[in-house]
Symmetry: C2
Amino acid sequence: MKLSKRGEYALRSLINLGIASKVGRPLVRVTELAKAEELPVKFLEQVMQQLREAGFVKSERGKHGGYRLAKPPEAVRIGEVVRLIDGPLAPIGCVSQTAYEPCNCPDEAHCGLRMLMLDVRNAIAAILDRYTLADVVEVTTRKMTRDGIPLPFSAESPPSAIRRAREARKGAASSSPAEGVIHQILGDYAI
Amino acid sequence: MKLSKRGEYALRSLINLGIASKVGRPLVRVTELAKAEELPVKFLEQVMQQLREAGFVKSERGKHGGYRLAKPPEAVRIGEVVRLIDGPLAPIGCVSQTAYEPCNCPDEAHCGLRMLMLDVRNAIAAILDRYTLADVVEVTTRKMTRDGIPLPFSAESPPSAIRRAREARKGAASSSPAEGVIHQILGDYAI
DNA sequence: TTTAAATCCCACTAAGTCAATGTAGTTTCA
DNA sequence: TGAAACTACATTGACTTAGTGGGATTTAAA
């Protein structure tokens, strides 16, 4: 049930672009994005082009160019990005909601594997289609701020960014363990 | 988040061996297993050998040979099988519980992607490590029986097998939609 | 004892994916 | 004009996936 490296790099870069945007420096060079997560630059270039073609980021060419988010991070569901890069979320084609393909089992309606994998697909989609890029950025920055770690990509002096981030509510309400890590940290912000 | 064909075929065959065992004909030839789901015979041979080496099935050689389950289906968690064939359930290595690998991000503790993928891993594991082969077999046979479809691999006349299966309880209790398809069909049998 | 039927074992391949790398070109700004 | 950055395209090597093929071995039955 792997996420490909492409997918991982795409998500990492989008999250970093979200942080950069929040910090007031939305335009980031590929080399910076690569450096932040130790990714191979040329490979990341390809991934960023794919994100650009799909409308998730915009590029600016020439000196002082770079990439920025093309939409507000609230409008980007993580599931969308994963589907673009890695294809359907479903473990097998016959339970995909967005790209259904029949399997060759004799009777889909009475296929135990299908029922099981449908549950898995729904569990995955419930997370990846629920949370947006904004949620993940919020979780990341909140946790860093809480622990006194300066946010990356701050062009201005970090303190201002930290202070700004600190305005956000703090106390993470404890909730059902079934709700997951993200939900716990987002607390009452979730949904 | 794909399940490989190997993994799919392995699970399909184990489920079929479980049904065959339930129906009183536990020993099944590879050609039969392949025919039941239209799988390539020689490829399935390899998969079955892998399952044998891992102790999930036992083989009998020679004429009238075949494969049978090596353990009671209650003792086989689906997650085990998937891990054997496809590796860890986790989408990325740094959230795997059974095969953790560090990623190269600067700070795992404050990595939003990691928190998100940890939730995904837990959601997948909550299903695949919760249900056993017996659960999936039960769901399949119960649904087939309810719909009057004869179970496969019946050597004896199908009616007897159907009658026997019909002894089992019927009414599937409706439960929280978050619990998933399998849980709903298993009803009060679950856990 | 031979033969048929099954698993077992090993090698191989064709296609695709992954993770880059290389090279050249284009745009923009100083 | 030149440096810095993105853009485009081609290629590559390693690896994985999904199979295929050919026997060797084992067992049961004729």
